[in-house]
């Protein structure tokens, strides 16, 4: 009797907590939609999304966010393109080939890396990477899309490595034994059996990585130069996130509303990425 009551109370608590979580998501969505729609309507959907110039405070004001959208897409793709293979191969090495000692050291380094706030990444990027890029490519300014991509790829490494290692280590040893007993080498076994069996876990790592990169603002403001150019590797650029973060403080009127609209676009962006990647992961799992 007492147990039953306890069960019921616990269930009610979990239900309420669950509802609160869902409620917050809905609240945020509604808020973003309601505050983001007006400016888009006033500017015009097409003009807002596809016009190349962002000049909210000039006399000929213009609210085109194509530069931010493309910068975010390029920046994210670039970071994943660099971070994913490095992270993936590190995870394979650490979980399947590395001596115990190296693995231990690397894992604690990765945990440390994962806990560093993005400001610090930005700071190090600003102090080390940006000047380096300036010198290597003899640019007037090293703050650029390239710098942002490099910092972002470094930032996603820890989570990609950690999640991939977990996925690889969850693969039952029996699969590997079966492969070795058929005469496969260790390398063949790892790539053709273990990685295959772990691929949905590894894909989850990618989703986490992508979402972290798309949503990152602080570090990219510090190393990208934060100028609303159309993206180009060696030029200063501005991301969707940094546009919102850097202008919110002093904006007003339509400008301020347009920033809410950018947040809405960013939100949709993340939703779309999440849904597509999850779709592929689920399909893979079934297949």
């Amino acid at each position: 009797m007492k147990n039953k009551l306890f069960e019921n109370i616990m269930q009610a608590i979990f239900l309420i907590l669950g509802l609160i979580a869902v409620g917050f998501v809905l609240l945020i969505s509604f808020y973003l939609i309601i505050s983001g729609i007006p400016a888009i309507l006033e500017i015009g959907v097409f003009k807002f999304l596809f016009s190349k110039s962002w000049a909210p405070t000039s006399p000929q004001e213009n609210f085109g966010i194509l530069p931010f959208i493309l910068t975010s897409i390029y920046g994210t793709s670039g970071a994943v393109l660099i971070g994913l293979p490095i992270g993936f191969f590190s995870a394979v090495y650490l979980s399947k080939f590395a001596p115990k000692k190296i693995k231990l050291i690397a894992e604690s380094a990765i945990n440390l890396l994962a806990g560093i706030p993005s400001v610090v990444y930005g700071l190090v990027g600003m102090l080390v990477l940006v000047p380096l890029i300036k010198i290597i490519f003899s640019l007037p300014d090293g703050a650029s899309l390239l710098a942002a991509i490099l910092v972002l790829s470094l930032m996603i490494l820890p989570s990609i490595i950690k999640v991939s290692i977990n996925a690889l280590e969850a693969v039952p040893k029996e699969y590997e034994y079966a492969s070795l007993a058929l005469g496969a080498t260790e390398t063949e076994t790892v790539f053709k059996v273990s990685v295959k069996a772990a691929k949905s876990g590894i894909a989850t790592a990618v989703v986490l990585g992508v979402c972290r990169v798309v949503g990152e603002a602080v570090a990219v403001i510090m190393v990208s130069g934060n100028v609303a150019n159309m993206p180009s590797l060696f030029q200063s650029v501005r991301f969707l996130t940094s546009a919102v973060a850097s202008e919110m403080a002093y904006s007003s009127g339509l400008h301020r509303n347009a920033l809410f609209s950018i947040a809405l676009v960013l939100f949709l962006f993340i939703m779309i990425i999440n849904i597509t990647l999850n779709f592929f992961i689920k399909r893979d799992r079934k297949g």
Partner: protein
Amino acid sequence: MKGIINAKNLNLWYGETQALKNINIEIPEKSITALIGPSGCGKSTFLKILNRMNDLIPIVKIKGDIYYNGKDIFEKSIDVNSLRRDIGMVFQKPNPFPMSIYDNIAYGPRIHGIKGKQRLDEIVENSLKDAAIWDEVKDRLKKNALGLSGGQQQRLCIARALAVKPKVILMDEPTSALDPISTSKIEELSLKLKDKYTIIIVTHNMQQAVRISDNTAFFLLGELIEFGKTEEIFSNPLDKRTENYITGRFG
């Protein structure tokens, strides 16, 4: 019949504990050899050493020799991967890869460089037929192998082992996780396979050893107590300890 596998004064240690003690055995070709004995007596250890799966356990130390077709398998010049291709293995718990039935069977041949859909199709079909599971799976080759029943999975694993054309098949209690019907299917299958392959099977089930094996080896505490024709071992054991074990007095 000549011995395809010969162990000479074989000793094995896990760290400080000795698991095999001076084993001498000559396993005849194209026949079924059963390894029996109470658990922990070293049957699996002996089996795994034959295709050098013990290499994966760093603490293992070995003294003595094993000859496969007259060649010492511990010699440096031996290619472990081709040794394992020759001496296949079926595990206690069915362990198909989490892939399609087709890919499970094609895995080994592909690893060994066989390409071309037609050749692979052929190998897949023949292996599944040889493992007496073709009729049950021929319409769902592209489906995940994990959807099969335990007994089917085990026969699939046998088919997967056959696909690389081994000479010897090692089976470690292959039916201990299966129901009686699946067990008898695997026993029938083993009897059919011994025309072409040498089978070494570890079993806890004495009736199984009697039903299918030609020769039986009785292990106790890491020693090979007795090895001989199955009928003789079970009807007229030479060693008192063998008799005690097969009459169920211990183990």
